[in-house]
Assembly symmetry: D3
Homo-oligomer: 332 residues x 6
């Protein structure tokens, strides 16, 4: 029951302030690594799946540390490139609290990943025995070559009949290399089976402007018949440490609605969406639609309790939360 | 008004992850010491009582550090043995958060305490001028000799007319030396005046299976006439950092019910039951039943705000909480 | 639109325990600096104003570290004295949690500031182009000479037609040099335009004992016609990490009432009142009364999310909270 | 030029005090993992070789963390067993300084590794394409089954014509399961090509008592003709942070002598011998004898500059030290 | 062979910068406790002796933490007073390095100890069964009442025929209460059997100005016939982390000279003199003069390897250093 | 005697590993800020001089933190620009030990400073009352516009008759914008009065290839008559924590030679050259040549004892080292 899942995308070093200090106060940073797609791979690896991540690092010890991080988390790193060119993307994270927002300063331009070319890979080897390819809208937003890399990966997967998922994840601050989302994204999305998208993603990336998720899904389904499944999480932000989280899943015309979780005393919300994505992939592979949705949501909830980008939980732990077992107990 | 109280039991080193990290992420551990019975002794020592703890440590500097820890907290360490044999019991603690449970990995087998013999002690000296003996169901579960040690202590206390309390504290994962709880516990409990027991304790340790605490108490009282007082805490676990806590006290047929506390932003729930026990001993020595119950519960609540196993609060601080004074204020 | 604002008062070193440890557990302390008036100056400096703080430090590297702290936060330190005499005032802070109060142990007697003389300053230079002077009731409570310093500053400001604000901030444990508040405070308050005062301040510092803020304001206004504006915050302490906060503003007979904020997962409430004061000064300088009150309250709320005494937020961040934008979101 | 090298042995968690604190002062421990044979594997992995480590961990998250540690360092973990039985071996390390010795408290009895059986493995798969097997005298000292496991591995390697190395590493405190070294070790050593042994190892493990390394080697060579190469390091301990290190290599009758390094300001000497062993294996595979000896020694010297058990250096870095390039410089 | 030894003196909180940071850089401090006389008591307690320390603390949790610190280290704390008056003395310690000196900023005036009165004690109880009293020249330098306390203790000890030792330890920055050393010290020294004194101590405290230790001893012996033994350490400061240390002992006309130790990579030199004193007391009680001197010096050397004021070593560890065994080795 | 000194150059964030960990082990980084020229400004500021630093930061809180860092250290920050464009340059620092080199990974391309234009400044205001301008060869190596900025600053200083110093500091890894050092540097150096240069600097930046410093100086003096003074430090690297340091000063044909310092237990060598430069500027302003050289060298030695880039020492401390007073003592 172990599936081979391919992910592709940049991994950055995250530097986080301590004790909810502001950037202005920081005299040391904790170090984590993360990237939307690698986070999905790591979570699926902890769910017992075979995962392969495709990325590039600078050929120095920061790159090697990032490489070791994936390896340690069970991801197959055979297809990771070390480039002489480019740098390790970094992002600084100021931990918010109460009504004060958390803040991120990205410093990712010129990364080795942004310089990676699709001709560098043996795509047949990568996709051999693979069941799934996952990409996000961050990759085509980074650079011309990253965009091309993403497109090639999707095409190759398509050719081999592998399921493709994409987290649209529109980020206004990226897209600085001369192309706009509407130039690039529709073609990528058109060849994707499962997408995560919110209203802003629909509008900015495929030009569908609707008032509700369901309407947007119906329209998307009409225009992009390849897309079978669309999901989204709903986050109500009460404070930096208190959110409510629920999710919706649209599958070929039918809408599934999850329960809602109250998350108080959140530890780290970064990677919450990626944890949902990983849970959804696992769920769609091994469960029915409603179960898949609940599994994905519970996985995402657990992520909020763990520092760092990755969701270091097992399938059992997620299932227990779905069944409301052992909530916050002391397990001896 | 200072009473001499004897406690007996193992003390372990606790190693705790930081920042709610999972075991998989830990690169350093904070060090605390604790053990159910020693926690009671330390709390009573901070309540101004004279306390004596009986235990054994390996004859190395880990043992001496554990010894110093008790000494620093005002516990009389004169009867602690340093053994060439055995090791320091250790437990690893992963701090949960939100809906994610806290987890403990015990590594306590083969401890010096488990090898301690009852013939090693001058019981008359220990119990001279003593008012109270406290034991828990962990000790008889550890090893044959620990079980025998516990039994001897109870008998000696009985002979001298000293009040005996026992926290039944049934732990399925212990009891690995060939005896079952029902082989051992009934005899120990029969000679105990005050017990802490929940439904699972009644069932597993004295074979009384009932649907409610009160019924179980009535039945226990019938079968074990020596037991005068039975108490229990009620914990509703909303999340790893949010619990509700209340308590019940049964005394010779009468049931006392406490108020309920909402505990949010809990710092450390380990030792909460021991803090209740220490509060109950103090309360039963110096207050009436209802007051004793409320004192014990408030003591337990305060423990949840302090890192480490022990309840480092004064009688005044507990009384203030009972009276709802200074709740969470900034005291200058 | 940049105003020059003068503050005067002692700055202390704050030593804070970690992880909610009690003083009894502390093996290291985090270092912050703070003082009621300097906290106001720093906050106004982060609001883009020109601020000048008047104080004295011992002529050693602890004093220089405190000096650098103000400099780093944009405060003009030209009028800070380094004295051979006296010491750096210190306060130790034990972080509470849940129902357990936070506690402060002050160790501030004999500080260099308490020995500072008003003849040491060129008041004309200090107040040149200044728009505002801020003092608190802590200064006259410290020593005879500090009281005299405060009085001189107020008189000089008055002579130059500069607005004066005072946070009455009655502290019973100070006032140990032989004078009582009623000997000193009425004269200082009589020359102040804007005060922060609660019922206990009115009673102890100007002898007005009333049941409500509004009554006390009316009476104060009658007796001290110079006082135009009086404000106060209302704090409901649910626990050490959960408070509700609202505020009232009285201006020449009219009462303005703020909304109320729920503050859960508070990081550090010390300096919350000073953040309100800084917000109020900013608001009264640049906004209407109701807006000034809401701005001051929102500023204070944000302070509770930041470790240390000072409110390191911008005008934009406060305005966003007033407008309820970005509450606890993740800003990329 | 990449060789496949198999290592077999226990991996423990190391808990280290901070700032040269004694165990009596420790309030937190830094966490590392290590084991004599795994240290060799990791170092060889950083030298670019393919390494496979054979061990067992308890089936809990401490075991998984130890597993991830090997994976992250490039070791093939496919043959690691997770057992329900047994525990994670632990050792506590007090960092010495000056004339004060460093101290280790082992807590390794009953580990999962000590319970591992040789029948659990597919030895053919393990040794396929392998060039080298490395074992140490710690494994046969741990338990009957560990001893048997070691013997089987050596035999299988012998059958397949794979080079075998063994670090004799006699430890008096182990060997507690009823057998003595002379009962077990001669047979294992007899089938080993390359050994590390000092005078105490010769005496205790093969009963050869001589006054010099060379004499002992000659005698060993006579009695155990299979042993071609014998090496040893010479450490002169001036203080806990200042040592001199040199080494000798005996190869079929010829003695090679290394230069001597002065090591001051040592960071961590644990694992220094394993770093030598890894360097020696690399050297014997790819260099002549004298070069192999110098490479091994330089590798060991570098290890003393790195915290933790493992020698995280590259072949280039070792070669530079051999050539005395860049000694302690700042490489930009 | 266990002796009861009484020490008297102030205990302060020490706050130390990290990583050799200067005070100007400190954002956190490590906490230790220490005082010249208490350091002697703790060291003797770790040497297996019964020790009693006489001091006073402020009646707050900083005082209680200091009290617990002594208790944890085996010192009898029964005669420690908690005073409403006064404060906890503090000293800030900036760790030097290389040619840069370490620096201390004392903040000890007005401590509770400086306010302690000799009438507060039951001297007969304190000295019952005691063998030794130790004081230092710091106590009479602190305040009039501390001076009187010291004098009373010496007189009482004299009356009971108890050996008295005194570390003259002249500190120019103390002595601020109106008396000069020559007003006070001669009388105290005249009743002391064993003193530690250097040339500056002889000159400033008993007015004996000589060019060599031996001459000063001869003259002292002539004028103060009660003084039988005088010792001193010789420190050559090569850098903040490299010193040479030797010592001299004068006993009734005869001079004993120790060997010299090279101390490189020193961890903490504060308390080195107190460690010597404790070693000397132990040596004079249980060894001959030359052995006593070597034991005292070796004890002092070991102290330099341990962070904090106290010498946490055993008699065995000191004896091993005297015999040059295990120098800086790794003891498994 | 206070001089106004202008410095110009990039400031980066430095992220340093802990405990001599390698990059591969880092899970947190300590944060410092530094830049060759700003380091000079800060040191001169701690020497009591008025310093102005010219640089640019990105307009975010990382930039503001860097800005505050200069302000806190007494540097006039009025001419610092906050740019929308560009990023904060970062460098990662792995602390070496023993024979293992320290390593730096620069990540500085595209910094805000590299985008700064010379037209952005009011040079007349900057140089008003200034005595000195200091630049380094790093600035012209960064970008075309930085090079132009440097050239303009030197020209303006020249026009106003201000002394100019330059630390040639050739870095092969910079110079990536299309120009080579020999295209740019000769013109800048020709207008500089005081330079720091080693043999590689002479060769690469002005094309003078000689075998000795003195010959190179003579030739330089001949070709660039404006250059009056040339200095250089001589570092012998025994290990990462042990160096010897001496220096040479050439002044109009005469060579001055310093003493040599042994530096063992170095804390941080980064910034050692900048500390020398600052000491030299101070020395040339206020002392004779030989004294200036010794002052500069002693200042540099002290820097090696302080973590971070900047030399936080006073003129008194440097003078004491020159006079060999208080070497590594404990100053109370």
């Amino acid at each position: 029951m172990k599936k081979r899942i391919i992910t592709i995308g940049e991994v950055m070093m995250r530097l986080v302030t301590n004790d909810h200090q502001r950037f202005l106060q920081a005299n040391h940073y904790n170090v984590y690594f993360g990237g939307a797609e690698a986070n999905v791979a790591i979570s699926l690896s902890h769910f017992g799946q075979e995962t392969v991540h495709i990325t590039a690092y600078p050929d120095n010890d920061l790159g090697r540390a990032a490489y070791n991080y994936l390896k340690k988390n069970g991801v197959d790193t055979s297809y990771i490139s070390f480039l002489e060119k480019g740098r390790m993307g970094v992002y600084f994270h100021e931990k918010g609290s109460m009504q004060r927002s958390s803040r991120i300063i990205y410093d990712r331009f010129g990364s080795s990943f942004s310089l990676l070319k699709d001709s560098d890979f043996d795509w047949d080897a990568i996709f051999e025995d693979a069941s799934w390819l996952h990409w996000t809208g961050i990759t085509p937003a980074i650079s011309e070559s990253a965009s091309s890399l993403c497109k090639t990966a999707i095409q190759k997967a398509r050719e081999k009949g592998i399921t493709v998922s994409g987290d649209i994840n529109y980020r206004r601050n990226l897209w600085q290399y001369g192309k706009r989302p509407l130039d690039i994204m529709p073609e990528l999305i058109a060849n994707t089976d499962v997408i995560i998208a919110g209203l802003s993603d629909f509008e900015n990336c495929i030009g569908i402007k609707k008032d509700s998720f369901e309407e947007a899904c119906n329209e998307t389904h009409k225009r992009f018949p390849e897309i079978k499944t669309i999901a989204v999480t709903r986050r109500i932000s009460i404070s930096a440490s208190e959110n409510k989280l629920s999710a919706l899943l649209y599958d070929k015309g039918q809408l599934y609605i999850s329960k809602e979780y109250e998350m108080s005393n959140m530890v780290d919300r970064i990677g919450g969406g990626d944890a949902f994505m990983a849970g959804l992939i696992y769920g769609l592979l091994f469960k029915n639609k409603q179960e898949a949705l609940e599994f994905a949501l519970a996985a995402s909830v657990l992520k909020h309790s763990i520092p760092g980008d990755a969701n270091l939980v097992t399938v059992d732990e997620v299932n227990q939360l779905v069944k409301e077992e052992n909530l916050g107990r002391l397990l001896r």
